[in-house]
Symmetry: C2
Subunit: 385 residues, 2 copies
């Protein structure tokens, strides 16, 4: 039987040593917020690091102590008896540097000025996040992870771990990810950023000082993102061309209203998602994280040769893609698989025929979860061996 | 040899009789701007109506008299010796009601108030446009078109002609179109509209009175549109992950700049397209045209039965789709083909393996143009018979 890890409280670690960044800049000192589930074994060999994607956080599993409604974003995957079984693994969720859920980021006070960093917060890369995560592992006394796992942008972090710190992970589990963004992927990010950057309430990133939030830009950015997370088919099944029911109506409407206000259910859904997002997500963080996505391209310094870029990796790999994911299509995962095989690495790869598009990595398709459970079952055997 | 129709000057027709609209509203009087190329034959049987898509106009072919840079949007298809041969056909291009290139629309003066309509301009449908076009045909003395042709939203108008006025066209040529928008199609339109509607310079659609233009919203809207017009592949081939060259650089840059400004060529391209669009396109017209796209669904009154909806059609049909068009994919055209075949209509259908995505309908792929040329060659024989 699977259950929840229960009520969880985040921890916080302060790093006083400066972190040198990919850009050449450095950050003087910083804090990372994290949660842990399960127990680190005596050999300190059963730790699993979970890397988050765009809008997620350290709160991977369980129920937040401060808010019983706040269930971890991968609670269906991580917990006692779940595919990443917290009865066997010590799971670490960390909020990335530059994010807006407690770790140091654009909303934090810049010690040089005594005011929020805002646009002065340095532009970061996936590799910067991974280096910061490695410092957290040091602080937790974890020399080597049994696995580093992530989906989407989190999968990119797991991949970067495999080459930046090849001796510090036994397995890399990268789900619904890509070795780099396509021009179309970058294009969607750029439109989202433009919506934020041109919102008059953005104030060049210093909106904190103006008591405003660029909510309009964030809403549009999130709406664009949402379209790319869902497959055309699942959007059709869930919403189709159904007209929105107004609060005063007792049945679904069947007539057009001839307005530019919400008319279709899909419009209502997207607006709701956009508005919700704009209330909790920081606009500077949105810019930072989408730019890190754009920049990720480990083969770039190797003349585009992904196999050469992944050559340092020593761990085992599980890659999973989803048939209807058009943001990071299965072909993108297969590029990674081919490059790893060229290096004679041990790779398990599955393409799951799930209908949900990119979002499938957050859902509990039994084939997908069964595969992750089996793979982690094998890791558990290695850990206890 | 194919040549241009040369320098063209638009004409304008004023309609004083009110037009009853799908919404139940009516428009008291209106003007339509149009261009014609070639000569109407004595039997008045060789007229071809060209219907435009979102941002196009009556200026289909030739060079505008007022601006030698302004070449018609389908000049590669329409002209002497071209697939729609103006040596044989009398071609009519019309700017739709509600558009912003001269026909009555939101920028026009509302006779009831003496000020621009703005948000008071009625919401229109594809069927409303077609009815207005039929009045223009009356004015031009064209009882029956040899063909009505259009791509994308223009193809929807051609389809609507076939059922609303079955006796008034011999052929319907509908390219890169769909029988209705999918939830994903509506979603993209809705994000674009939100960008415009929430731009503070929109002023509830009364921006003319404020001396402003919601340029930020229009830019974002156009950028989103552009992404959907191009295939992922062609975007990758044209832009890939190439970094933008700054004016001061002599070679393409190879290093990231670590900013949120333009970094990749694809970003530069999209911004340029967005800025150009925001200088010439009316925001209220953008709302109106995307809403007409959303609403188009001829099967809606027939319980979703497209064959029943198309049953009134009597003309011949040419449908063309493009393999890499993910906005209106070939499967969408095949839905129309199947419904027409169920009605025993004469249908020619081709899926062109062009790499350019939805934009392919505006380009001159030789297989595509060869097919259109052959089909119109057949129509020309009928006309002169």
């Amino acid at each position: 039987m699977s259950a929840s890890v229960g009520v969880v409280t985040p921890s916080r670690h302060r790093f006083d040593a400066p972190l040198a960044l990919s850009s050449g800049a450095s950050i003087a000192g910083y804090e990372l917020v994290y949660e842990t589930y399960g127990r680190l074994n005596a050999a300190r060999s059963n730790a699993v690091l979970v890397c988050h994607a765009l809008n997620a956080s350290h709160h991977v599993a369980g129920v937040a102590a401060h808010d019983p409604q706040d269930v971890g974003w991968w609670d269906n995957l991580v917990g006692p008896g779940k595919p990443v079984d917290t009865e066997r693994f010590f799971v670490v969720g960390v909020n990335n540097l530059g994010s807006c859920f407690g770790s140091t980021g654009p909303m934090s006070v810049n010690p040089a000025t005594g005011r929020p960093y805002g646009p002065d917060f340095p532009v970061l890369t996936v590799e910067d996040w991974v280096r910061a995560q490695a410092h957290l592992a040091d602080a937790l006394g974890i020399a080597r992870f049994a696995a580093v796992i992530g989906g989407s942008l989190g999968g990119m972090q797991a991949l970067a771990w495999s080459t930046l710190f090849p001796g510090r992970l036994a397995h890399c589990v990268a789900i619904a990810t890509a070795p780099k963004l396509s021009a179309q992927n970058i294009a969607f990010n750029e439109v989202a950023r433009r919506a934020i950057l041109t919102d008059p309430d953005f104030h060049g990133g210093r909106f904190y000082d103006h008591g405003t939030v660029p909510a309009r830009g964030l809403q549009v950015a999130r709406m664009i993102g949402h379209i790319t997370y869902l497959s055309d088919d699942v959007m059709g099944e869930r919403f189709g061309r159904t007209l929105r029911r107004h609060a005063s109506d007792t049945a679904l409407r069947s007539e057009y209203q001839f307005t530019y206000d919400v008319e279709f259910e899909i419009e209502s859904y997207l607006r709701h998602q956009g508005e919700k997002f704009s209330r909790y997500f920081d606009a500077n963080t949105y810019l930072l994280i989408t730019r890190a996505l754009d920049y990720f391209d480990p083969a770039r310094d190797r003349g585009g040769d992904l196999a050469a870029a992944l050559a340092p990796a020593r761990c085992g790999f599980l890659l999973v893609s989803f048939a209807t994911d058009w943001r990071f299509a299965p072909a993108r995962s297969r590029e990674i698989v081919a490059a790893l095989l060229a290096n004679q690495r041990s790779v398990t790869y599955a393409e799951i025929d799930a209908p949900h598009g990119h979002d499938a990595f957050l859902l509990d398709d039994p084939r997908y979860h069964g595969l992750v459970a089996a793979y982690f079952g094998r890791i558990a055997t290695e850990v206890s061996a």
